[in-house]
């Protein structure tokens, strides 16, 4: 395998890791959408940490290996419009992901605090925190940014 093959494989593997994290977060949001019980929300803190690791490894890997590929391949240049678009989309995704994490981490922290206080009964305030429009909006926007990134990688507009 050439260096290009390795870079491409690891770049695509990073993209799969990133999407796996987004699938995990989407699944958790959907599964807990109607739940008001603190223990239900607190329970998934471990698995959401797995999502955080996947999103960190995937997003850094995609960017670094993507830039390395742009320099390694003769047919691409870093200033090609579709590569510039990908970097802009990556930045948008990173910021949206940060805001999503902030919204849901607050709900998770509140749920764990309630469980630790022994108040594991349905809590409308916690439910409202988890179902915040801002958190869901940022998450859906981050999913849209990821789909746009995939479209950009495959259609390569301007290439």
């Amino acid at each position: 395998m050439s260096l290009y093959d390795w870079l491409l494989f690891l770049h695509v593997l990073s993209a799969f890791t990133l999407v796996a994290a987004e699938v995990l977060f989407t699944f958790l949001i959907a599964a807990l959408w109607k739940r008001d019980l603190p223990s239900d929300i607190a329970r998934v803190s471990g698995i959401s940490r797995l999502g955080n690791v996947l999103v960190g490894v995937g997003s850094v890997g995609v960017l670094i290996l993507g830039i390395a590929l742009a320099f390694e391949a003769d047919s691409y240049a870093i200033w090609d419009p579709w590569i510039v678009a990908a970097i802009v989309l990556w930045l948008a995704f990173a910021e949206l992901g940060r805001r999503t994490g902030k919204a849901y981490d607050a709900a998770g922290a509140r749920a764990r605090a309630l469980v630790n206080e022994g108040r594991d009964e349905p809590n409308p305030e916690l439910g409202a925190l988890f179902r915040s429009r801002a958190g869901l909006g940022f998450h859906l926007a981050s999913v849209a940014a990821l789909v746009l990134l995939l479209l950009d990688m495959i259609f390569k507009p301007g290439a």
């Binding site: 395998m1 093959d5 491409l8 494989f9 770049h11 695509v12 593997l13 993209a15 799969f16 999407v19 796996a20 994290a21 987004e22 699938v23 995990l24 699944f27 599964a31 223990s39 239900d40 329970r43 471990g46 698995i47 797995l50 996947l54 993507g66 590929l69 742009a70 391949a73 047919s75 691409y76 789909v147 995939l150 479209l151 990688m153 495959i154 259609f155």
Partner: protein, 155 residues
């Protein structure tokens, strides 16, 4: 930076194929993660919740992902018009996709039966659910091999 040189008419089928594969792998990651947590926890409510989560991830994410991946793959193959025999990397893709589908169905069945067993017993652990964990892990490894074959296209 997928597929450097190909006609633009192949782009949409390729997009569907890759998107389906990513959703499939994402669903498997969720299922394996949930099953791993179900193995580690002692509280019956935790074990039941994570086992149920693993089953639903396989059913509502991994299975539809497989269908989109396979349909997109067949669509792009029809456009590429490979002459027989298929190149080696395509053979690896077919083998992992189709054999993987059978393993996915068995894993799904075992995970579902495991959830039912847990519900009837009121907690503890389910041997069927536990068998589903290594199967889902094997499936994940198989599909990562497929990602390698699809991107590097070895002869």
């Amino acid at each position: 930076m997928l597929g450097a040189t190909r006609p633009t008419a192949w782009d949409f089928p390729l997009f569907l194929h890759v998107l389906g594969a990513m959703i499939l792998v994402g669903g498997l990651v969720v299922a394996v993660g949930m099953q791993f947590f179900a193995w580690r926890r002692r509280d019956p409510a935790d074990v039941a919740a994570f086992s149920r989560g693993a089953f639903w991830a396989l059913l509502t994410v991994a299975l539809p992902g497989w269908i989109v991946m396979r349909a997109g793959g067949e669509w792009i193959r029809s456009k590429e018009g490979w002459s027989s025999p298929d190149p080696g990397w395509l053979g690896i893709g077919y083998l992992t996709a189709d054999a993987g589908f059978l393993v996915l169905l068995v894993t799904l069945l075992l995970a579902g039966l495991g959830v039912r067993q847990l519900r009837r017993s009121g907690g503890g652990s389910s041997i069927l659910g536990r068998i589903a964990t290594p199967l889902a892990t094997i499936l994940l490894i198989m599909y990562l091999v497929a990602v390698w074959a699809m991107t590097t296209k070895p002869d």
